[in-house]
């Protein structure tokens, strides 16, 4: 039962942390809850479909399809996080000064509502399909099914709780630092997801690995450990990365950072004129 709880906790944790960061970062945007919730619902539906497909087909193609789908979902999330962050760096200041005004409306610019929804969808779908398959496996697994299902449910709830704690923690950050902190979180998150996507693209054979142990810190901080997994989700920690993963991480980091500088900078100039 405990083992089941831990596995489900791990599956839920990534999605939960991502949603917490996105919800925190989009504080002050009207109706964001609705968009995130619909993303989560769509993500669950997608997860069920992926789980069915993964369990039905059984060929080399299906293996590649799984990895390609994972890479696509991850890169989609990276693109949406980029959009969100760039938008925020252009409008965040404005938002933070109005964040307490009820019904405040930020004019100009396409709001990243679809981005919020798609990030949530991607996070839930990716981890959710594994969770669904796992739960299905234990539910049909016989004798201990019931107690394991309870364990699994406990794992899901604790995973969501950790996300809520992170969210509440984010809300306690003083307003003037708030958007700075959340945009850094999203920047690191996006870079980490891009590195994961690179792993999948290499798995399919679309990208070379460029060396498979650029460093190996498994002995110091294993990705299997809870803290290791935490850092894996939050900042993209990989204990033993391949070259292509490092390239994707740094490339994504630099691209988003430059985009934020460009758009954020323009905005400030305009405001001072």
């Amino acid at each position: 039962m405990l083992a089941t709880a831990i596995i489900m906790f791990r599956e839920v944790l990534e999605a939960s942390l991502i949603i917490a960061i996105v919800l925190g970062a989009s504080r002050g945007i009207e109706n964001r809850g609705r968009w995130v919730a619909s993303g989560a619902m769509l993500g669950l539906m997608g997860a069920a479909i992926v789980a069915l497909l993964a369990n039905a087909a059984s060929t080399e193609f299906s293996g590649n399809a799984q990895a390609l789908l994972n890479a696509t979902v991850l890169l989609g999330a990276v693109a949406m996080l980029t959009w969100h962050n760039v938008w925020m760096s252009a409008h965040g200041r404005q938002l933070s000064s109005e964040v307490k005004a009820v019904g405040s409306d930020v004019e100009s610019g396409q709001r990243p509502m679809a981005a919020l929804m798609l990030i949530t969808l991607a996070a839930v779908m990716r981890e959710g399909s594994e969770a669904v398959l796992f739960l299905w496996a234990i539910a049909t697994g016989g004798e201990q099914g019931a107690s394991m299902l309870i364990g699994g449910l406990g794992g899901v709830i604790s995973g969501i709780l950790v996300g809520m704690l992170l969210y509440l923690g984010l809300l306690r950050i003083p307003t003037r630092h708030f958007f700075g902190v959340t945009s850094w979180l999203i920047l690191l998150l996006a870079a980490g997801l891009a590195a994961q996507a690179a792993g999948f693209l290499n798995q399919v054979g679309l990208l070379p690995s460029l060396g498979n142990s650029i460093w190996n810190t498994s002995g110091i901080l294993s990705q299997n450990s809870l803290f290791g997994q935490f850092l894996h989700v939050l900042i993209g920690y990989i204990a033993r990365p391949s070259g292509i993963q490092v390239v994707f991480y740094l490339g994504t980091f630099a691209s988003i950072f430059l985009l934020m500088r460009t758009y954020g900078g323009n905005r400030k100039k305009k405001a001072s004129l």
Partner: protein
Amino acid sequence: MRLILSLLAGAALLNNAAQAADEVTLTVDHQKFTPAQFSIPAGVKTKIVIRNQDSVPVEFESYDLSREIIVPGHGETTIYVGPLESGNYQFFNDFDHDMKGSITVKAKGN
């Protein structure tokens, strides 16, 4: 964009050309990987066929190799690893962390 796509396609072709691959079959039976330990040569792309004889799905995962793949119950999936540098690479079933194994990659001539 088109350039990136053609580069990707080129990389895929190269990869396929290099697939004069060694092959290993990894069987899942009674919640165990068999063989739990095996060796492959360094610097060679290796095909691993994962054959699941249990009724429950497993997720073959390796942080060391950055590989992650679901194998359905009574199903079979193929992945490629490498070319790898010599060393030890751990793998496990993400749905059951007690189920694990490792690949030893040996330099040629050893």
